[in-house]
Point group: D2
Chain length 329, copies 4
């Protein structure tokens, strides 16, 4: 049995990665939602307009929106009105309230009821809500790596929240999309490293919401690595009580023991970015010094994998009742 | 008037950078201290053995040791016995006590009296001690960027030390020297990013000593960037009291207003690595959110410049009574 | 039905790529031939010693040798004596005579009869010889891209051989293996580009032999790109007679019309390295100026794909009677 | 004594490199010719409009145009009418006739008399014409490396022109300027390598004109390296007569024995790009196989140095009667 699934935005990096993953998925027939000149491209896939009528007529079961936030805000209601499920890879439906959306995205949300309705597609935290959802907000890349690393700290009362959690995040350039800018041009990025959106990145509220942190407790800096893909986050905490490295590691191992895409590293080791390149894994390693009570977590994902297209396919598998790992291992 | 100055270790990255800087210095005649086959190299400079007799006979006024720690431990007494000043770029004489040296370098120091004697060559903190010193310990690359960024936080009672200071450090590969290893090979580094020596890097005690911090208060992670040169450190603190971003920035501006090599960035901006490449500058930018009391400092140097050879030449200028910036602007 | 296949040298880049490809192959069970400490590695695969007795006992049908030339020279006779097929990814059995081997590899071949016996595993030229061969010499990476691009020029009498064929070849660093050297260290390679083995690379005789060229007619330069993987060769010729660009392109299209892994590009376009990364394709594009009679061919492969492990799996499929593209598309 | 010199286009990569070089030049005071908001930039240099009146009033002696071809076509007559010398780094005045300009640049030249008048600023070939010229056309980056490598082959009757000269050229991305495009974005360039303008690059006629070659005799391919700066050209020839490697090398050594910026490499060695980074050198190495009569020349420059700003300063030194190497060693 197979499903017809639409992709809007296949020319972007996330869209291209979606197509790459789906080409190995045994039960999906991709259809491109494409306004532009359909004859100009080499891809040998069916193309339809991105309208409610067209997606209904094409019998799509689900649509991925790998488009900018503004385009997603416009497309989602049309797709839902056609009766098909939507996985939105943009930031348009990730926050729960219109106030929060306005603060972090700088604009009034045109459909606040969809913010309330959307399921947050981080299966490790919200798996049960995904199958029934009409609209799935695919998480931001930075929050995916951060939440998976931080929440066990909170759930197990490991971290002293007064000391705060620091998340120093580094991303490859594909996270910024493929629109050419001086900032993303080769000569500006190579042999360079730079911080941006210090303390004010729009991904911050996703971490606060899903790891149950207050703004006072959390510092976040996004930084640009001279690589194409990959996110590594170095997360610092102070222990709230006496603990050993093995105890903390044990809490992570328990938290993720049934998760196919979370790999907790053995005592003394942490992941690098090569370990997760072109995968849907989130790899997590922990170091802790019981003498000082200070700990460090290293969390690594591929920003186009678990940080975007990989996680979107994982959500699609759940939404369509398919095995969660299909196409992803 | 000019000075004859020896360089041991000119084949390494720091040694080569020393030669590059000295070629623009108007008052220095470099001499290579070189045991190996002197005919095999293209450099058109005098070469002598690295013995007390040879450096005395060659009338050297000062010697740079750009060699591994073990070689520096052996060479320093010989050079001092010849009556010439030594700037040691290795880690051999950076810590003050033999206990500290043994803990962080894993070996008993053969001349603990030299640890006590050596001046720590961070001119911005210890300028007055450098001219009279026989032995100058050139600071580690990471501690240079860290101390210059952290000490004003402490001196001005800005940071809440219970919350702690987090220093997330990233370095280019030249910081590891030019000895080939799998870890430093191109294919392992390109499109990668990795953490190492988490919470246990031997540069940590230099930060504790010169910023007056205790181990409980300080977290440090070293990480490898896929670039040749540059160190950027992202430093996190929680404010100990009510402050504005401008007040904190003002404290830094005052601290460094007469320093030729420290550039404090204007409100709202932070440095990247291109800003300091091939210079002796340490560039510092600060962001602070008064609502949450959380702040971030970005400190950038060239690890071979202010982090090694540049700072060594700055120390040499002070040691020989030359203008501090000669050859460095 | 499935086959047990051994891999010697799985720690090298070609060996690791073999494992990656075989993990997607539905009919192969890999077994590691591994002398070293079997407990130290994370791979969850069976390990046996690389001896005739062990491979016989393990019922292997075929062995890949992804080891240095010297190791392959020693292992091949043992594996053949165990009655199993060998695909040798090293240079040990690529040349036909002991004289040629001695000239280009600098040593007397210990088993010249195996040079005569070995099939040259470039399926596009020698497909019929592969199924029956006991020993398959997997071609060099540079010759694979070169022969596939050059032979149609010769077969169709396009090129003026007096003017000669020039092959300017560029390779990613993984082509040199993962043994650390200064030449392959990150700082030496990044922001650099260098030529080596100009006019005397040991891959030259493979091009001469399989494209039927004499040494007088062929210039070859190997060069190191600051990337991990990929080979692009820019090949220059002068036309022997009046021709159009379309006619030359037509000759290539006919030559490769049934080849699953050769993609001839449309008029006016040529491949880059991203087009072939992590694939078994060889992509070929051609430009020709009829006014001057001068032409250029661009040939691109992944040096670890069609240039090593991919082609080795293609040869394995032929040797075991499996579909040629299994695991490779 | 010092000279006031204007720079139009200081925001581009060549303009920024001009400023970097001039900051070390002891006799030049730079003035920015700048239409845009003069308050927005950090550079502490005088700014004037780029008009004839303004440059006359500011007593400039010479102006560098580091602007696109279209802007240079417009500015040159204004600057000349103000009575000051112009060094044009663009392609606007490099070809000698309006026919050639129209063929290669696709537009009618508005001032063909300036094409005839302009001196071609390759000092090694045309040094005597530069001091008296009002307008100096700074050569293209590719032709600089190519002409310096090829002309001795022709002058000494080394090359068989029927076999032709092949120039396989590779350039860093800064050669394309700093206007953001998808082609020059980090993700498209990293881990990639691509050819462009095969056989039809607009730099070809500069090589033909100054090395005295016909189109039939010369093949040229431009290619994009994943680095910021540097050009390496691999040049292939067939010998016209019996020769040794030493004889060919000798011809180059004689041709360039008095040239301060041309370094001919010793027998058996060729340059890489690190050797010329941030310099005004053109480094040349030669390999020749007398058995086959086939030879290879490797020519390396920094495209922003000898390929643009460095050479422009060399021309300025000649034009103003200053020592040719001032600011450049």
């Amino acid at each position: 049995m197979s499903f017809r699934v639409g992709i809007a935005g296949h020319r972007g990096y996330s869209g291209a990665e979606l197509l790459r993953i789906l080409s190995r998925h045994r039960q999906i027939e991709p259809v491109l939602l494409d306004h532009r000149d359909p004859g100009s491209q080499a891809l040998d896939l069916p193309r339809i307009p991105s309208t409610a009528a067209a997606v209904r007529e094409a019998h799509l079961q689900l649509v991925f929106l790998a488009v900018p936030t503004e385009a997603a805000l416009e497309l989602v209601p049309h797709m839902l009105s056609a009766g098909i499920k939507v996985i939105d890879l943009s930031g348009a439906h990730r926050l729960k309230t219109s106030d929060a959306h306005q603060r972090w995205y700088g604009e009034v949300h045109p459909h606040p009821e969809l913010l309330a309705e959307a399921a947050y597609g981080l299966p490790e935290f919200h798996r049960s809500q995904i199958p029934a959802a009409r609209l799935i907000a695919n998480p931001g890349c930075y929050p995916t790596a951060a939440n998976l690393a931080i929440k066990p700290l909170i759930d197990n009362q490991v971290a002293d929240l007064h000391a705060g959690i620091v998340c120093d995040a580094k991303s490859g350039v594909s996270g910024a999309g493929n629109k050419p800018t001086l900032k993303n041009s080769f000569c500006e990025v190579t042999e360079n490293f730079s911080a941006y959106a210090i303390l004010e990145h729009r991904h911050v509220p996703e971490v606060l919401a899903h790891s149950h942190l207050s703004e006072r407790d959390f510092s976040f800096t996004a930084q640009l690595l001279p690589i194409a893909r990959g996110i590594l986050e170095t997360i610092y905490f102070r222990a709230a009580r006496e603990l050993t490295e093995a105890e903390i590691l044990g809490a992570y191992a328990r938290a993720y023991k049934n998760e196919p895409f979370i790999r907790v590293y053995p005592l003394g080791s942490v992941p690098d970015l090569h370990a997760v390149a072109r995968t849907n894994f989130c790899d997590i390693g922990i170091r802790f010094d019981p003498k000082t009570g200070r700990g460090v977590i290293v969390s690594a994902i591929d920003n186009l994998g678990k940080g975007a297209a990989g996680q979107a396919v994982q959500n699609m598998n759940l939404a369509l009742g398919l095995p969660e790992t299909e196409g992803l291992l």
